[in-house]
């Protein structure tokens, strides 16, 4: 989440990938850095160590969602302020 915020601060389009277990921390970091609207996608946990096949499946699933967020066609899984 922190990496995503750093990229967003450079005025670049970004989507933070945050696993289920770290979603509350994502909320905390985003809010405490004053950037709760940085879009996030919620991933299952764990991703690391789940193996290439599982990661391929996950990547195939989230890639269109990620592109849609970057294109502004949908919002992230976090609820933007004012939404």
């Amino acid at each position: 989440m922190r990496d995503g915020i750093e990229v967003a601060r450079q005025d670049r389009a970004v989507v933070a990938l945050v696993t289920e277990q770290f979603w509350p921390q994502g909320d905390f970091v985003a809010q405490s850095n004053g950037m709760p609207d940085v879009p996030r996608l919620r991933l299952p946990h764990p991703v690391a160590g789940s193996g290439h096949d599982a990661m391929d499946v996950l990547a195939a699933r989230i890639a269109p969602e990620l592109v849609a967020i970057l294109r502004g066609e949908r919002t992230g899984d976090n609820v933007p302020i004012g939404a």
């Binding site: 922190r2 770290f22 921390q25 909320d27 905390f28 405490s32």
Partner: protein, 368 residues
Amino acid sequence: MPNLPPATFQAADEVEALELLHQHQCTDGLPVVIPTPERVDRMVLASGLDADIDLGTMGPGGGATTIVQVATNAVMAGCLPDYMPVVVAAMQAMLQPDFDLAEVQSTTHSIAPLMIVNGPMITACDLTGGFGALGPGHRANASIGRAVRLCMMNIGGARPGTSDMALLGHPGKFSFCMAEDEASSPWEPLSESLGYAPGTSAVTIVGTEAPHNVVFVNNADDPNSPQRLLRALAAVMANTGSNNASFSGGTVAVALNPEHAEVLHQAGMTRRDVQNALHQLATNKRGHLLDIAAGFIKNGDHDDDIPAVKDADNVIVYVGGASGLYSAVFPSWAAGAHNNPVVHHPIETDQACVIPGMENLVVAGDAL
């Protein structure tokens, strides 16, 4: 900051106040001294600093580390006003960018700031570096370390599972503070080895895991005995499965009990010699690490020696604990933007003043 408790609470009595503090996650889970305005004022006064002085922003929550905030947490931890300069110095040390405090607080690793105090403040506060220095029963050690933790929670916003993501944690996350046993050390105080003048009080902080015992019995008839001690310490430093072994970095603290320190001193070793020797000895073969932690180790010659720390400066050697069979190694995190370095800060002892109503107590500045 998100979900912060209100700056002040109103309660009918101290029992209700304690429950309020627990409900708002302002405690470490144990009862605290209620930080009434009068108690906090006394603690601020003992610092000799203005209440609104801001020592820096503390992550991950981004709270302002003002003197009044530090004082509030010191009261809650059970500190005497005399301890306040040590707590303030610890804040100043940990807020240095090199310490990566926001990341230290947020990581899944079980890192906690180990505080080592040197100088006249050891006596002024009645800190100990001897028997059970990191265990229960020592008021100054326990409450100063606890004050630092409560600051990390209430100013830095660290809460388990939300912003403090340590998967398990360790008991040192309640309190992790001790003095160096300067009187029993054969070497100059740790603070002098870090550049402080003799007689200067200072706090040295390394983010570490809990202490790991190292058992060793000297044999005065064996000329290799000092080398055996060094190898035992280095073996624990290079404990495979640890972050240091896997990431080949971070800073490791080594608490030598006075007997073990004397073995090395009698062998003609300075503190620096010990640091150099441990850095050189604390290694693993690449092939061994690849068998265990393949995801972290680059491929290469399996006979390469992979050091547990990058440099002798990343081995903090100090004297502590009572004499006997056991010394201790504190493995560490070996991560963060600055790779888990040691930080330190002088303890300002000339700011203290007499606190109204407590004239008969020893005040830090007077005791020096």
